[in-house]
């Protein structure tokens, strides 16, 4: 049998069967040893963490300055009162989509290629949503008033307006963060128990014992665990699709040209899955290379994810074109002006970055050779993430700066504070992710063991001993 890293034939990998088998993995001990090996820090990891913390500190310094000096130092020019903060918020919420999609939706569909990639994706989701959640707080300028958005009994008798998409957002994002974190943690419990049982350092062992909640791998625990995991997946599935729909309502519920479109929820969800999968490549391709885990995250797995990216790219590309068509067909002058302005106006370059990165470059994935080329997938993932950030830029800035009244038309230039927050958000995200992969297993040990044939005494039944 061919290994997972090598397709069965030169052009036709055996995806239906190969992606649910890992023939290069012989037994449970190998799984424990190889995945636990990722917990050992390396020089590259320390270097990465230093860079991430440095970037995070740039953002933290900018926030400190903004709290001191006021929101006027951001690049806002009325009526462009949404800028880099909201663009970056939507970008990170989108990144957060792929994790729960991979862990929940692909779990329900029994997609074999999710097994070795879902843990890193779930962690990515949690940290991406944590990053996204900072931006509305940064954007309101007075972060200490954030709790006013939460409905709670208070002596001022003030309540939020439940008909506002911004309040829907509060509920959607907080639910998503809570459920993603819960889903990640529940899946981690048996794996933490594996690490706990291998741990020699008494302090770490104690911490891991507390985190594993005294998990002992009993039949009772497994029985309730599998049910709970299934129901969590069932809850997370509509949640994944709803969150970015709700985020899209922030735009679609407004009358602003370029925003007021019923296509926004599916268009945003497809874009989120697209960018999320790209970020999965950005983090997983180096991990599999540095820790020699190519026989876990195989080329077949990456090939399958590339097909998802290609499909969502086509959906997103179709949505871009439909937007133009709807603007033309509607006969609404401001809408038509906006879309003309989008590609030929002041920010033409941002629209073309978006179109090239999100529509044109992913077409390369029609080539199986490129779908199985990890260097190209990594490069493409960077382009896609740039393209998806610019997609949100194209939605926010040209719309607000070019609304109905020509006397209101203005320009927008992000200030150094805006850009510091953008850099800081990447630092914040990667800092948490790097800390995570050094403390907890980056692949689901238990689920990989489910794939590996168990030892059997009876001859010819798949045992390796």
């Amino acid at each position: 049998m061919a290994t997972m890293a090598e397709p069965v034939g030169p052009m036709r990998p055996n995806i239906p069967s190969a992606d649910i088998q890992l023939p290069a993995i012989k037994d449970f001990e190998q799984v424990d040893n190889e995945i636990a090996n990722t917990l050992k820090p390396t020089k590259a990891w320390f270097l990465g963490l230093m860079v991430a913390v440095g970037c995070m500190l740039i953002g933290a310094s900018a926030w400190t300055f903004q709290v001191y000096a006021g929101l006027g130092n951001a690049g806002y020019v009325p009526p462009v009162m949404w800028g880099v903060y909201i663009i970056t918020f939507v970008f990170w919420v989108g990144i957060g989509h792929a994790g729960t999609l991979i862990s929940a939706i692909l779990y329900l569909f029994r997609a074999g290629f999710r097994t070795t990639i879902y843990r890193a994706s779930e962690a990515m989701t949690v940290f991406a949503v944590m990053t996204a959640g900072l931006f509305p707080i940064i954007h309101i300028g007075r972060p200490w008033k954030f709790f006013w958005l939460i409905p709670y009994p208070n002596w001022r008798l003030l309540w939020p307006n439940f008909k506002s998409p911004l309040v829907w957002d509060v509920f959607a994002i907080s639910t998503y963060l809570t459920i993603s974190t819960t889903f990640l943690y529940i899946g981690l419990i048996p794996d933490i128990a594996v690490i706990r049982d291998r741990e020699k350092n008494p302090t770490r062992k104690l911490i891991l014992s507390i985190l594993s909640l005294g998990w002992k791998n009993t039949d009772r625990e497994w029985r309730h665990f599998t049910r709970a995991y299934l129901f969590l997946a069932a809850f997370s599935t509509p949640l994944v699709l709803s969150v970015h729909s709700v985020v899209s309502f922030d735009f679609a519920m407004a009358l602003t040209p370029g925003w007021h479109a019923t296509i926004f929820p599916p268009y945003f969800v497809a874009g989120a899955i697209f960018s999320g999968f790209a970020m999965v490549w950005t983090i997983l391709i180096p991990i599999r290379k540095w820790w020699k885990l190519e026989h876990y995250v195989t080329l077949n797995h990456l090939d399958a994810t590339a097909k998802v990216v290609l499909f969502t790219s086509l959906v997103v590309g179709c949505a871009y074109l439909v937007e133009f068509w709807v603007a033309w067909y509607s006969g609404v002058k401001p809408e038509q002006e906006y879309f003309w302005n989008r590609v030929f106006g002041e920010w033409w370059w941002s629209a073309w970055i978006m179109l090239i990165c999100n529509m044109v470059l992913p077409l390369s994935l029609f080539s199986q050779k490129l779908r199985r080329n990890t260097a190209w997938l990594f490069i493409l993932s960077i382009f896609i993430n740039i393209g998806m950030w610019f997609e949100r830029f194209v939605i926010v800035v040209p719309s607000l700066s070019h609304e109905f009244e020509p006397w209101q038309w203005t320009t927008y230039v992000p200030s150094w504070i805006d850009m510091s927050f953008l850099i800081g958000s990447f630092g914040w995200f990667f800092m948490w992710f790097l800390l995570f992969i050094k403390q907890l297993p980056v692949m689901a040990i238990i689920e990989v063991k489910e794939i590996v044939p168990a030892r059997r005494a009876a001859a010819g039944q798949g045992g390796h001993h």
């Binding site: 309540w159 048996p190 009993t218």
Partner: protein, 166 residues
Amino acid sequence: MPGLVANFRELDRTVSAIKELQRKRLGNLTVYSPTIHHELEDAIEAPPSPVRRFTLIGGLCGVSFGYWVAIWTSDYWPLVVGGKAIASWIPYTIIGFEMMVMVGALSTVFGMFINSRIPKLVVDVAYDPKYSNGDYGIFVDCPPEKEKDAEGLFKAHGATEVRHAR
């Protein structure tokens, strides 16, 4: 509860030992396995997990609370717009849905914890770290007079080690 613990290296031997123990009714069993195996689930013949009830009740409570808080707030602090309902169920469905997911999922986890009896604050004497690695274990809480039968059964099914757990 005192009893006997047996270690097994192979899955099929563990399954056959469980079936034999069930047939001879030597005592209640606790099976340890490094991962989920359907063969073990089938051999143990455990009833369906009641976690689903926690999920249902939690989901219903969540959706009710979500609609209620939005409708109650609108009535308590009305934002009157001509021709528009003060409490409009369509936008409130978003709040109802989010609360259903949040409360439903958290009660599922609560149900799992209650039924699995975690967090475990006491030491499980039958547990061996090998069970999280690659070995299987069966603990039977049999009375002292049946211990010999259980030990013989374990050895006959290829247990690598049999020990008392008290």
